[in-house]
Symmetry: C2
Subunit: 367 residues, 2 copies
């Protein structure tokens, strides 16, 4: 088992990473205050891991809250099911809410924990690669609004994050790829040597090689913990973690939440950020193509939906949380391994990026 | 103008109290960061003060969000109207949400500010006595759930609280009385000399004497600021501010939110807390009667609803936020001017308190 620490003063917490951690009560119980525990999970994850986690928590008064599965349910109506469950079972403010599932479960359970009786104890047990390397670390929680993704939420840190790498064995291939989009992101924004390592180990990762997976998760969580420790509330460097996300959120919102997986939309969005960085002359077209190739090898879409034109992207992006006083800030690459957040770019370059011929760009990679 | 300070480290903020403050932009603008401002108010307050506040904020991009009036609307559906308005008007994370209204508006606008894009700037302009002396200070925000009051919310501090005492001139008499319930509370829990002052000035207060009102508001806010500064997240002494509230919340929930005003329910609940403290032998029956008489003179109900029996009270109180690990903690009086939070009382005394003959108790006061 490896343990990292997210350094946030009195809200610091450990991230444990290893095989079979779901069966180790001693990693959880120091972080539970009362006798009441609510496990928030979904209809896909519950049959796989709910019984095991409940057995690990023997002696506690465990309330399972099983939600429908998918980003399409990341809304108030589903969140309300958590409050309904907690209140019906008379959970008090010393209860502990545990998120058992992917990013959607973590975001919703975390937001419920942040709001229930104005804040109760919270634990993350992410079971997808995407949530393990990204959303479970850093305290961002929330739900979607019909007019924008993650528009309602809270910064709320867990007491501990438990990553059992064995849970990836049950993960559909498409979701493994979606998680790899965020792993590749860390290489692009702040860790060029890791990007090279990923190029060498992409086949091992997709083949679920345990050693490669553990290293990729550790390195990703370490990068995220570093950035979050420096800027918890995203007033600066933390925004670089959103490489590809502004374009990607537009894709997710336009297509309807859950049609494209978050990681898939981020992958196509990252291609757009690479293209824009190249058009600005900040990275070479070879760097851009290097990123696109790696995303492709991870099994990810690298072309935005054909139906989305410039006006469509702009309409969605104008409600992005990175808009400040009417100016759209974007995460772009100064070079491979160094991201910046900027609103200092010619509007024509953004426009050209939105209307670029991505299918042709990808075709030439084959040549 | 008087200015108090709530001392919460980097989240400290001023409370300005005085006549005509609504027209003074220099008290607000230092606390607004961007150009976007959303004024959240309701259909009763908007015709009285929205135009004036909008004029005070000349030069800002002001979005009015006018909600239906009443505790019955303190729910998710109404909260959603705030998010809808902010998103439709493209307000970004540097927007400022201003609550212009009573406690319900303050709680909902504050919770919306806490959650919108994971937290935006917030200002309180309370227009009722109850919100001026209680809910606008201390950062408690939230909405009701069908199974319990204020069960979903956040601790979220404003940047400034602006109390314009002139706004009390438009307040219905019943709501002035409701506010006096909380004013009397401060005397009972921590300020015996203030209780004596209130006995001397109750007629002046109900007659809207400006000097008496200003002093009562100052003294109440100072007490609240002191307690909140010592215990922001209610792990200890802050809970004493809930004298009468556990019984009162049961009354509000059972009768349907908004049928009894919050202050009215607190008044009847305070009578029950006085009765229980007397039954425990902590205060004399003369002390109890002193409290009841003052509440009566403030124009408040001092008898719980006839229809509520012991089982009914217990069912509601078992979901109170002060329940910890199954034990119900109550705020009671050790003596006039000193409250305690305790779960150390014989269950029979609570039971006797719930079934006591309050109409008879009040009748004997006339004798």
């Amino acid at each position: 088992m490896q343990t990292l620490k997210v350094d946030l003063g009195e809200r610091s917490y450990p991230i444990h990473i290893g095989e079979g951690l779901l069966d180790r009560p001693e990693l959880l119980t120091p972080h539970i205050v009362g006798r009441q525990v609510a496990i928030v999970t979904n209809t896909t994850v519950a049959p796989l891991y709910l019984e095991r986690l409940t057995a690990t928590l023997a002696g506690y008064n465990v309330l399972p809250v099983v939600l429908p599965d998918g980003e399409a349910f990341k809304n108030w109506e589903t969140l309300q099911l958590i409050f309904d469950g907690l209140l019906a079972a008379r959970h008090d403010r010393r209860t502990t809410v545990i998120a058992l599932g992917g990013g959607v479960i973590g975001d919703m359970a975390g937001f419920a924990a942040a709001c229930y009786q104005r804040g109760v104890n919270f634990i993350q047990i992410p079971t997808t690669l995407l949530s393990q390397v990204d959303s479970s670390v850093g305290g961002k929680t929330g739900i979607n609004h019909p007019l924008g993704k993650n528009m309602v939420g809270a910064f709320y840190q867990p007491a501990v994050v438990l990553i059992d790498t064995l849970s990836l064995r049950s993960l559909p291939e498409r979701e493994l790829s979606a998680g790899l989009a965020e792993v590749i992101k860390y290489g692009l924004i702040c860790d060029e040597p890791f990007l090279t390592w990923l190029e060498e180990h992409m086949d091992a990762l997709r083949g679920l090689d345990p050693q490669a997976l553990t290293l990729a998760i550790e390195r990703s969580c370490a990068a995220k913990a570093r950035v979050v420790g420096a800027d918890e509330r995203e007033s600066g460097v933390r925004a670089t973690l959103n490489l590809g996300h502004t374009f990607g959120h537009a894709i997710e919102t336009e297509m309807g939440y859950g049609v494209w997986l978050h990681g898939e939309a981020v992958a196509a969005g990252t291609v757009m950020a690479l293209e824009m960085s190249a058009r600005l002359g900040w990275i070479s077209s070879a760097d851009r193509d290097r990123g696109i190739r790696l995303l492709q090898r991870a099994g990810l879409p690298v072309v935005p939906p054909e139906q989305m034109d410039e006006a469509c992207f702009m309409a969605h992006m104008s409600v992005d949380k990175k808009v400040l006083d009417g100016r759209l800030r974007l995460v772009l690459l100064r070079r491979i391994g160094e991201a910046v957040v900027t609103d200092d770019y010619p509007q024509e370059v953004l426009k050209a990026t939105l209307v670029a011929d991505y299918p042709a760009l990808v075709d030439q990679l084959r040549g």
